[in-house]
């Protein structure tokens, strides 16, 4: 088959169809651009509405919480005290210490004073004074205390001998360290 259309017309036809294609591309590109913009704007608008309702929900929850402000502050104080309780526990069991002194005292020894003192800078010490008729019992008391928990570092400070009606009495004082429970 022979194409009798002159080459000039054929060329013009080709240019026209190319123009259509390029124009179509421009239209499609413009449409995509506008649609994208419209889509973004619509999405942003719906998001704004959604944010508004979320904010309203949050405000409602906060208002509800504020209604119970008193109970919340009470709970906060309880929680604070529960958390800090460990810091206020005594490091020493004083009953145990006094009971240990009593159970370590020989039967022929009478204590005249027990003084326990402590401060934050050093561990507490127990100063014991007493009387007995046997010097040996004082040593036994010291050794028994040294073996008993929670004591440590037992030392005799003084022993004084006195005689009344031919009966010898020994007055002593000793110091005992205490370890933490």
């Amino acid at each position: 088959m022979i194409n009798l259309v002159p080459p000039e017309i054929k060329k013009r036809k080709g240019v026209r169809s190319l123009t259509y294609v390029v124009t179509l591309c421009y239209i499609v590109l413009t449409a995509v651009l506008l649609l994208g913009l419209a889509g973004l704007a619509t999405y942003n608008y719906t998001q704004k509405i959604a944010l508004g309702s979320q904010q309203a929900e949050l405000d409602r929850l906060i208002a509800e919480k504020n209604q119970h402000k008193t109970i919340l502050s009470q709970a906060a104080l309880i929680q604070n005290r529960v958390k800090s309780a460990a810091g206020y526990q005594s490091a020493y069991d004083w009953n145990q210490i006094l009971t240990a002194v009593a159970s370590s005292t020989p039967t022929n020894v009478s204590l005249t004073s027990i003084k326990i003192s402590s401060d934050q800078s050093k561990p507490p010490t127990v100063a014991i004074t007493g009387t007995t008729v046997e010097r040996r019992s004082i040593i036994l008391l010291k050794d028994k205390l040294a073996l008993t928990k929670p004591f440590s570092g037992t030392s005799i400070s003084s022993i004084t001998e006195s005689t009344a009606d031919n009966n010898k009495t020994y007055t002593f004082s000793m110091s005992v360290g205490i370890t933490k429970k």
Binding site: K11, V15, L18, T19, V22, Y26, L29, T30, L33, G36, L37, L40, A41, Y43, N44, Q47, K48, A50, L51, Q54, Q55, E57, L58, L61, I62, E64, K65, H68, I71, L72, S73, Q74, A75, A76, L77, I78, Q79, N80, R81, V82, S84, A85, Y88, S90, Y92, W94, N95, L98, T99, A102, S110, L111, T112, S113, I114, K115, I116, S117, S118, D119
Partner: protein
Amino acid sequence: MHNLLTNKYFLVVTGLFLVITIGVIWLFFPPAIRLFNENKAAKLSLAEQIQTSQTDAAGVKDLVAAKTTIADLYDKASLALPSSPSADLLLLQFDGLTESLGLDATITVPFSEGSLAAQVAAPAAPASDEEIKPGSGSAGGTQPIITSSDTGTKTDWSLGGEWDYPTVLALLTKLKTFGRWNAVTSIDITAAADKSTATISGKVFWTPSSNLQFSGSAKELLTQAKTLFGSYQTYATTPDVTKEGNFGKSNPFQ
């Protein structure tokens, strides 16, 4: 294509199209995308806040359900570690404690200067210099000795009396479960032929409480608090001027 590129109308239209397109992109897209991102971040943040608030709301619901228990535990927690020295209530507590053991005790508690006049009558002025004892306002009996309060978050106290060894042990046992958290710092027991005297000294604590926020599980808190405060013993209730006392005298000196 070559012919199209040499066509000046085509070039003008294409140029115009490109300028408009770039202009539209340049002008409208950045703010739209910025708004999109901002909304996205705000939505995430709000969702998190809502979730936290919902958890809090559930916690509050549990707290409200245990309102009475919370109020009771709050009283115990406030008594154990008050926000102020609370020396007046401490005195009543010690008074109740010694009374529960039937003891005649000398109680020394710290009073702040502000509350001193309002809470406890000042002891009578000494008649002579011999009556003045260093560091004390009275001696023996149940009259409280008044000392100046400590400026820190702990204050000193002491209990003294004619007590023997078993009484001191009983008192120390009671102090372990005493409603106000305390630390014994010294014990002095002296036995003479006719009587035995003892003094127990220590500290009580207080801590300022401001901006405390509750967080976590209400049920867990209730369990822990019940276990902790359940063993503590209260020996006096806080005086309530609106509910107790008879007031009004024609002659207050009679």
